[in-house]
Amino acid sequence: MAPAKKRNVSSVKTAEKSAKKAKVDLSKTVERILESRKHANDVFDILESLQAEQEKEVIGAVAACSELFCALLERKELFLGKLPGEEDALSGGYSAEDKYRIFMRHRYTSCVEILLEHLSHEQYDIKESAMCCLMKFAAGEGRHPLEDLDWSEHYSFPRELIQALVDNLLSKATDNSLLISRFQEFLEMEDVRYYVMSSIRDNVGKVMDKSKGAVVPVYQNNVFTLMSSISMPNQESELTNFMVKQEAKHEDWKAAKLHEHKRVFERMWLGFLKYKLPNSMYKKVLVILHDSILPYMSKPTLMIDFLTAAYEIGGAISLLALNGLFVLIHQHNLDYPDFYKKLYNLLEPSVFHVKYRARFFHLANVFLSSSHLPVYLVAAFAKRLARLALTAPPTALLVVLPFIYNLIRRHPSCRVLIHKPSAEDEPFEDPYLTDEEDPAQCRALESSLWEIKSLQKHYHPDVAKAALLINTPLSEQEDDISETLEVTTYELMEKDLKQPEIKSVPLEFETATRLLKGRGDVLGQHFCLA
């Protein structure tokens, strides 16, 4: 133990020197330890520097550790089986060889512990190297299991190590998204992914039970990041990349079966979604739900509870839940009562302003593409959208107007909305009931789309032109709204800004003499130059 103290002294030395020296020293120490067993005690030096303040030193130590213990694992110089206590080892009747192994095994465990602690270190570099080191250990352990294979049902996989790693990764205090994205590379390996998924499930269960259902935003965020970085294989044949090769019984191994993967995946997600989530988390989950979660679940219908709950929340979350619901309705024969009524009630002015506008209209277009919908429903949708269009920005209007036209095209009996020659000459009040929740009762069919008529005076030329279409019978061909869905205001502007050749730019003919003067000046009436 003496050299440790000496090392201790040296570690107090100035930063750079010590770091450099430590690196050289450490690699030498590792060599020495591996060379002969008489230097075994030097391992303490390494562990010491593993806990040092200096970032570089720690990283060096981590590298040294990984080198050392991987070599030891390789040589099988770590004790196998149930590990007796250190005191027991000294007192018990073990051979010197065994004693050495027990000693080394203890150092290994403590090293792993330190590394796990490092996973919540402030420095990202340390976190990263610690994680990589641990994964190396895991790989080493997988090849040379420390447990007896007889009683292990887990086919020589370092399950505990992975569990501990995941537990530490899913921190409750710090956002580990960077580290998790680094971890993603290990998730490429099938068995690692399999065990990580089951570890996550256990961990979530434990943590959330402890918090008694209350939201833990940071933790949940970490969990979500980790879970969303899992990419599932599509076919059984794709399961080839394993960290640990099982010599025997590979076929029976759960980690080698796709349906087992799916089952674990599903249980993990359900376990996560079972608890209350923060609103932003709902959005995140719903955004990826339809294409990276639902297809990999063995029973997607189990999601129905979550989706209905989300759909009931309202606002943007409801909009997003639509997507998942659509998949369930479309592919899994889900029967959802009052779906259209709810969809109808989702339509409010904010629809045009939220980020998910494009997705919503894409889905709404799909939902309303059925030709078996009742006329009153379609008319109600058209009228509602037209009413909302009065508050919409031009980018949204360029989507909504063709959308309404498509509705009318699909359901020719809705044409009365824009063409009602029977009641041409008698003016009447708009019978449409804005606040009515039931589309059947809102009397949309008795109304006309005066809103679009108003939009013919819209300031943007494209919108005005689009609105002018209702003056003549609509063409047979449906408009393709998918192109305009994602158009941003800037793109709209560019149309005017990047005109290739302008023949002549019309100019204001009234001479400008002052900033706040002239015909039609409104600014000058309320503001002054100062």
């Binding site: 005017d496 023949k503 000046d521 503001f527």
Partner: protein, 862 residues
Amino acid sequence: MGKAPKKRSLADKVRKTKTSSEIKNNPFEVKINRKKFDVLGRKSKHDVGLPGVSRSKAVNKRKETLLKEYKQKNRCSKFIDRRFGEYDTKMAPEDKILQRFTMERQRVHEKKDVYNLNEEEELTHYGQSLAEMEKFNDVVNSDDESEEKGLLSAELTASHFGGGGGLLRKKALGEEEEGGQRAKSRQELIEELIQKSKQEKRERQVQREEAQELTEKLDQDWKNIQSLMVKKTPKADKQEEKPKLEEYDMMVRELGFEMKAQPSEKMKTPEELAKEEREKLQKLEADRLRRMMGEEVVEGAQSQIHFSADDLNDGFILDKHDKKTLAYQDGKWNMGEEEEEEDEAEDEEGEGESSEEQESDAEEDEVEEEEEEEEEEEEEGSGEDDGHSDLESEQESENEEEEEASPKPKKTLSKEEVKAQQEAAKAELPYTFAAPESYNDLKDMLRGHTSDNQRLIVARTQKSNHPSLAVGNKLKLQKLFGFLLEYIGELATRSPPELSTIDKLIPEVYALCQMFPDAACKAMQSILGDAAHSMEETLEVKGHAAFPTLDMLIYLKVTALLFPTSDFRHPVTTPALLFISQALTKCPVRSLQDLTSGLVLCSLGVEYVSFSKRFLPELINFLVGTLHLAVQDKASLGYIVVPPFRASGKYSDLLVLSSSESCRSWSKKSLPLSATQQLDLENDPDRDTHRLTCLSTCLDLVKRCCLLYKDLPSFTHIFQPIRTLLSKHLSTQTLPEPLQELSSEIVEAISSTPVTQSALVFDKRKPIPLKLLTPKIVEVLDYGKKRGSTREEREKERLKHKYKREFKGALREIRKDSRFLAREKLNEVMNRDAERKRKVKELMGSLATQEGEWKSLKRKKK
């Protein structure tokens, strides 16, 4: 068979003797081609055929060509007549002879005169020997020989044309007739030719003599009258006599090439000017309306772009003709040596500036004075030669245009005593400025000057770099516009913002914009594009953006000043409006500054659409949101606020007054534009005042919107939230009197509009006309041609048809040829056989006679 050709030839002979009408009237000659049906209006060439005539023609032709060839067959020698034009049927025989004659002459001449240097053939001009013309004077000629020659020529002409007796004439006629019928002999022709030329010569001489005589007589007469004139103005006469004929000619010619005084337009009366002005404005207005409706812009719009509404006429015409017109000044030609001296600041006074500015610009006044003086002087000068004043003024205005931009500092300096004080301040300002090459140059140029001077500097830079002065100036000024815009932006971002300087610079920016619309458009577009792009980027990252800064607000205002906001689509104003709407929807209101910025944007929005009355939903949304900020109790709303506003939240009480007392002391004041950037309001009363001002601005804007959108079919639905807000929420709150009034006015305006509308119907279309039963008459210009296919196909068809026809024709011809040849051959054989028969017969005959004689002799002997 043998007889047939004989017969035909006989028939041909007969036919030849008959006239064509005789043949046509002979029913035995005519073959009428029967038509299947008559087509009205179609004329056919081939309804009547003359088979006999055509056959005989064909036979004759073959005889001339084919038969000859046939006869020539197997012969190797051939006679070719190489005389000129022998085989050319197109040439008239006279021409042939003439040509041959000239060629022969040439040939002879070439051979003979190769070494003959001096004695060339006599050169003539108009039939007169040039040598003779050189030798003799005109005068002499006319004096001496005229009588003789005249006599001679008269005699000759008489003998040739009508002078001689009837015999002569008859002879000539006979000659002509004969010439027409048979070709003249060469000798005759030459003679005739020589005679002709001589005759012409004589004729011309006679004419000249006569002219000479006449002029002499005229001279004589003139001298008589001259003597009379001498008595009246002897001097003028002398002067008149002096210049020789050549000189006079020279002068005339010179004058012909000289510049001519062009008629000027008459001076316009003030009423006419006003009328013109009004008409121009009306035209511009009509143009604007047309653009607002989104109709296509006609090319002609370009032309008026260079004129501003009040038509400064101050050198903004880029291409003008440099040709100076003739004008008289002080009795002399004004050839442009004395040019009008104009100061560069001249136009400002024409611009109709406010009186304060004129006072501040003493120099301008001065220049004006100067000019007036000059004009007076000139008027005096021009008063002497009356009737030229219009010319002069014309020239003056021309010069004005040209010389406008050339700076003339000397003049102003000379009158320094007038207003020495102000002049001293101005003295340091140079009169010419180099156009700035970079933005920093401009900044250096303007640094440290007062705003008035800055404006003056820019104006002078613009004048001294007028595009008409140098080639590169256009580009320089275009750049200057960009720099000025940048400078304006910088002025606005300074703290405190120097808005008054911007205000002063506006006329210059406007003037530059009028000069270079395209460059101005580009510059403005790039500013707008950059701002929108950066906003878009922040939006993508954060989901919301900060309100545009003051410089952007100023840019938007300047855009409205420079470009028409009412156009249906405009390369600058449409993006600008989009930018405003984007800012109003995406920028959350988090402070009173934000709100002020928002209200500035709203005002701009109203300004942009005030003329065209276009619907700007974002504007209404923002105003609703602003009013919502003033609502105290946010429990039961009855309306929906649209993002970026929220029904409730951290910043949703921005406009709620802290105490109702501030209502009493509040009075409406204009908000400073700088309030959009920083607002230091320490205490609550100040803040309340600001709030109330914002609220009043907002209400006023709402009122304007009410008026603007009154005609929209869904007016009530658009304004429903505002109505609810004002009648249910704000009315319960304590507000100052004017605001209460304003809001009640708005509510009234909203509720007074009719709620009922008639249902939508499609636009009425023209009814589809019934099918008519009268035949459709199509003018067909190409009969017999196939229609209804593409042009190429038709062409192909046509060619095919033509080929077929030609092929058939050729086949027919060949057949006829071979038939003809066969007939000829047969003829030959027959002739030969007949000959042989005849000879055999003859021989046999002679033999028989011989035999007979011999037998008879024998019998006799017996």
